[in-house]
Symmetry: C2
Subunit: 146 residues, 2 copies
DNA sequence: ACAAAAATGATACTTTGTATCAATTGGAGG
DNA sequence: CCTCCAATTGATACAAAGTATCATTTTTGT
């Protein structure tokens, strides 16, 4: 009976075998995962597709999981508890030509977050910044072909 | 024969009836659209599903379209020419509890873009910033239920 | 231990595409 | 202008990622 199971029952849901197994697996999953990845794990223990997807939805409702939005195969899930407060972010530049992704070393939002939280009234937990452009290499290649 | 059709033929592709019709529709579409939306339009003129998706892919390759990444139903397409340079952006705060979305009135990135472009070597065209948190209302509701 | 309510899993269906392939068409060259 | 053939099309079947239905099973309050 881990912390997720308690939270689950407190929310008024029954703790069944499939749910118990799923919540056990969840403890190890510190990185974002897709529904399909989770389904494959659970299916090896005989748990059906519908149940996995239904349980994912419940966990989102309860707040144990959050959806994170990654460019590639964009529906991912992540433990809400794994989000380290305002430090959770994901900042990068994507080349619209070749798709190359460069992660930003420094977060351009670091000085703005507190002010935005104050003005907006939100308690901020993190962010996701995608800059779009043309990388230097593609830019050079395009110049040549003119 | 509009600018898209010229660019299409210059790239070595045949300008067929379905493609001509699709490129005509494209001229009006200034907002992001999904493949499905485009398919519905084209299908009314008797153009097949496969052709619409194939042509979309070609237009991405050629650079007439870019994919934009919106949270809701995340695969959208947009005219590359419609992107207004560095002014193209989309900044907002999303409540992880109720899903409420608040658009930011001022762009927190406005002062950082030039420096990032310089350091990264990318020619920046726009960005997309999602802040995540709990809105004041959900935050208050959660306090109460403890 | 029992009954009611909740949850399950098999199955069929939906949505958003992709692969196949026989039939058609655009356009380069004569 | 006409012909030919590679490129393209659309019908169809298939795939991946879910969702809806419903008869059966499991939990839990008493």
């Amino acid at each position: 009976m881990n912390r997720f199971m308690e939270q689950f029952m407190k929310s008024g849901y029954k703790l069944t075998r499939p749910r118990r197994l799923l919540l056990e697996r969840l403890e190890d999953l510190d990185r974002p995962f897709t529904a399909e990845e989770l389904y494959e794990m659970m299916n090896r223990e005989g748990i059906g597709r519908a149940t996995v997807f239904r349980t994912l939805k419940l966990l989102l409702d309860i707040g144990i999981l959050v959806r994170v939005h990654l460019e590639e195969g964009c529906q991912h899930y992540q433990l809400a508890a794994g989000l380290p407060g305002e430090d959770h972010h994901h900042d990068r530049i994507i080349c619209r030509f070749c798709g190359k992704i460069t992660d930003l070393d420094e977060c351009p939002m670091r000085n703005d977050v507190a002010a935005i939280a104050k003005r907006s009234g939100y308690r901020l937990q993190g962010h996701h910044l995608d800059l779009y452009g043309i990388c230097s290499r593609c830019d050079a290649d395009n110049q040549k072909s003119h």
